[in-house]
Symmetry: D2
Subunit: 305 residues, 4 copies
């Protein structure tokens, strides 16, 4: 498969589309981003990458994409507690809804919506000696990139106006599903979401979830084959909030989006891919990013279905 031709063709088609959607503006720092950025990077299983076009080496705020990494770290440290405190079902609701939490006793539907990622944060800060530093070390290890770091301005910016997340965390605490102080949990959470990576770095990182040889190389103390496959299942079912079905139907790959405009996706045994375009659709997913990935699976004929 000549991925280079495919990505270039998609790039040329994409840039000719009229701009649709708007940049996330509820986090002041994110609102400043140039809406016309477009990066696209693909890492084939078995090597030959990175294949990339556009702003593929420029870092951006990965936001909710980090939830997958936090989940992986939490599962590596013991899966039982995770699945007692978070479900694996699609939510069928917006990413920050409190309704299900109230009806379902403070147990989030899955670890990739905000409430679920906040519980994962709580689990991690209970387990990790230096939570933020340890998370960073893990992300640097799995990404193979020692300079990945938090953006303190973004973290502060999100913390300042994140009343909905404070509400979510306190509601779960009222049910006993948050064990640490809400302030500590959300400090960890907003730092996690403030991680900055480029498409190249993200595609390389998520190759871990596409390539059994790679994830076996991480060592036996990390995730098992079965756990990696299950993280992929969770991404497919839950990675796009109430647009998960649309993404599975139109793209056909496990993936995860962030309000910074990034999307990662995984085609097991074939490739991992990351795309970045800051304009979001009504559901909070990158408009052109989704479009690019849909064209990728159509042109290559590669999807999980």
């Amino acid at each position: 498969m000549n991925y280079h031709h495919v990505l270039e063709r998609i790039h040329s088609e994409i840039v000719s589309l009229s701009p649709v959607g708007k940049v996330a503006d509820y986090i002041p720092e994110l609102a400043k981003i140039d809406p016309n950025k477009f990066g696209f990077s693909l890492s084939p299983v078995g090597g030959g990458g990175p294949v990339e076009v556009g702003d593929a080496t420029e870092r951006f705020s990965i936001q909710s994409i980090a939830k997958v990494l936090a989940l992986a770290l939490a599962l590596a440290g013991g899966a039982d507690e995770v699945w007692e405190r978070v479900g694996v079902e699609p939510s069928g609701n917006p990413f920050n809804s409190l309704v299900q939490l109230e009806y379902e006793a403070g147990i989030p539907r899955n670890p990739l919506i905000n409430p679920g990622a906040i519980v994962i944060s709580d689990i991690l800060i209970s387990r990790l000696p230096s939570p933020k530093r340890d998370l960073l070390a893990f992300v640097r290890k799995i990404s193979g990139c020692g300079t990945v770091t938090f953006n303190e301005a973004v973290a502060t910016s999100e913390a300042c106006c994140g009343y909905r997340n404070i509400a979510v965390a306190n509601l779960m605490k009222s049910f006993g599903n948050i064990r640490n102080s809400v302030a500590d949990v959300l400090d960890f959470y907003v730092h996690m979401c403030s991680l900055e990576m480029s498409c190249r770095e993200l595609a390389h990182t998520f190759l871990y979830f596409a390539d059994p040889i790679r994830y076996n190389r991480m060592g036996s103390d990390f995730l098992t084959d079965a756990q990696v496959k299950r993280i992929n299942a969770v991404m497919l079912m839950c990675g796009f909030y109430d647009e998960a079905g649309e993404f599975a139907y139109g793209v056909g790959l496990p993936g995860k989006s962030g309000v910074g405009g990034g999307i990662v996706a995984v085609c097991p045994n074939e490739f991992s891919v990351a795309v970045w375009s800051p304009r979001l659709n009504r559901k909070g997913n990158s408009y052109l990013g989704t479009e690019a990935l849909s064209r990728l699976t159509t042109l290559t004929g590669l999807s999980i279905f």
Copy 2:
């Protein structure tokens, strides 16, 4: 009407009932109360009161009953803002539900459920120069009792574990319906709920809502006749959470309950009444208090219907 005989008869019947329900235990300080306390005090319009039996002069935590007083104070200071930020409909849901808030853009259904009273608190601290002191001054004036005060231990106790209220306040703040800091608003709110009064003091206070001569005496700068009647309407529709219909049906008076086990009720032009018994039914309303008031309207034939 010989109210004395009526109250004594009810008292003697009530004490022979087997104890049902349990004392509120989610606020540690309230859990310590003697569950067998029973106070009952009635103030007839036109004088002749107080008529009382049992522990009618012992102070207890009035809790949500204070929401009516806060509403009165807020309406006196300008009704338009109040009704733009809070509705007048029964909620049909438990007192601390977040579901409707999320569906209805952070506007609470009415001022007597927790979210509504928190918005009223926000309005009051924006308006009052010294919010807690000014509230206390108002309550002392309307109750005619200069020693009424907050119970700091109860306020602290509620603040410590009130994660649900923190969630509610932050959710409303995310919709722009809380203007001050959540910490300040909830500090005011928990103090308001920590007010301690006796049945005698409560019945005397709520005579204000039953006796036009009394409320006209408060001075023209306070509530109008129409406003007093409307507060009664709100109490009837919303004073007992998702048991409002049951109370209207079984008792037939506007009223308000608190998790401290108190209930006040008003029969316009006839009497005001307060009853206290700490054991609560499943909906959070005093079990014997409701029973006593039901017998009161049956024996006297006096209700609003």
Copy 3:
């Protein structure tokens, strides 16, 4: 109280208001009505009525107002079964919502929303030897008017397009809360709603709920004092769907509206009243009817609060 002056003043004020709202059009027969009709009739307790203005003697489709009469008939025949199968709480939802039914095992919140009135219909056709004829006989007796009858064209019109009611009835049947065939129950229900009465006839009928002497004269085999008061309580809490609080707050009387544009209301020991204006507000209640009643209680100072 010179009710004549009051009604004439209200009438002259009302006609000068610009027309707002629209006539119910989901039932084809109702859509044909002249939107500018306005009738208003008041029956004082103790005699002196009818006091009336406008089209007070013209019959119209009373629609949901009939639910109160059906409830009265059902309670007269045995209250226990009624309250096992229907609640007394406000619904906080539109009149034909299925959501609560699904969450609450097919038990409607109250007898004045569609699902509740359909259960009442089911109870009545199980009890009455000739259900429709017996209902008509009862309405003729309580209204004192032997010519009141069903409008078959309206009944047919509603039956034809009442998919929502068929859905409601089948959902309740799936929970076991409808015992007869859905077709029979809805045939009774649409006939009941098709009853035609004038404001004068309605005010006279509902005097029954305002005047203890009148309802005691109906005979000891009918409703007790307590039952009449409780029907008034149910009207206040539930008579205006999700606008019940607004009506209690703005008007302050127990009452019931119908999509034909009629509203009845009761001021116990003072008067009963009926008003008719076909234009409805967004909640399905008569726009000018509500306005007229609000002015009535303001001008007379008579309400239950």
Copy 4:
């Protein structure tokens, strides 16, 4: 891969498990089935099948599995109308819930929950000259089995007590999303659900969704590659009601269950599989069937993730 050994190992493990769950009893005819039946059949892509153990050639009621076949037939006749009237999102609710329908204007979340399959039925009877006969012809063609037929007793049994489905269909009709008479639509629907097939026949039928060569052989007038993949996506997201995430996580294959105890699943380019065990878990999916498929993907290492 020696599928024979795998299936035999699973069979021997499964039979030693203690019986859990209960047979569907809301449809009288289904309640009569022997709960200890167990059939398992696998069709490898590229031939070599069927591989099977247990009661793999005994026919049973496929129930909701038929929804996938109806969807395929509807898509083949024109996809645009399908996706205007039904969504592709997981419902996150039980299979027969009305709540979302009411909130979402009568548009079902996806075609594999009851409301969605009822809309698909409505589409098909509008399009097909002899709807039931034409459906049967299609199923016989895709299954390669000319004796597959409806079980009239099961269809009648389901029609008689399917009040919930009547409610669902009428609710959607009130929103305009059912075009034919509810009686006709549900007659088609219950016949479709009454289809009887064996595991062998089901596995062979669903090989169509696993094997591109096979579905290309159906002819260019049928589904495209992309449509087949999308049906697989819909199965994965929506095939197990509010247990879809659990199945994706635990099994990792697109599939569909029926209350008759059958489950089909598809591993694209590898195999199709059908399993039958009538005892259901709380969510209405076959208990041992799910267990068997989970072991299948674990033992073979073959899943879509």
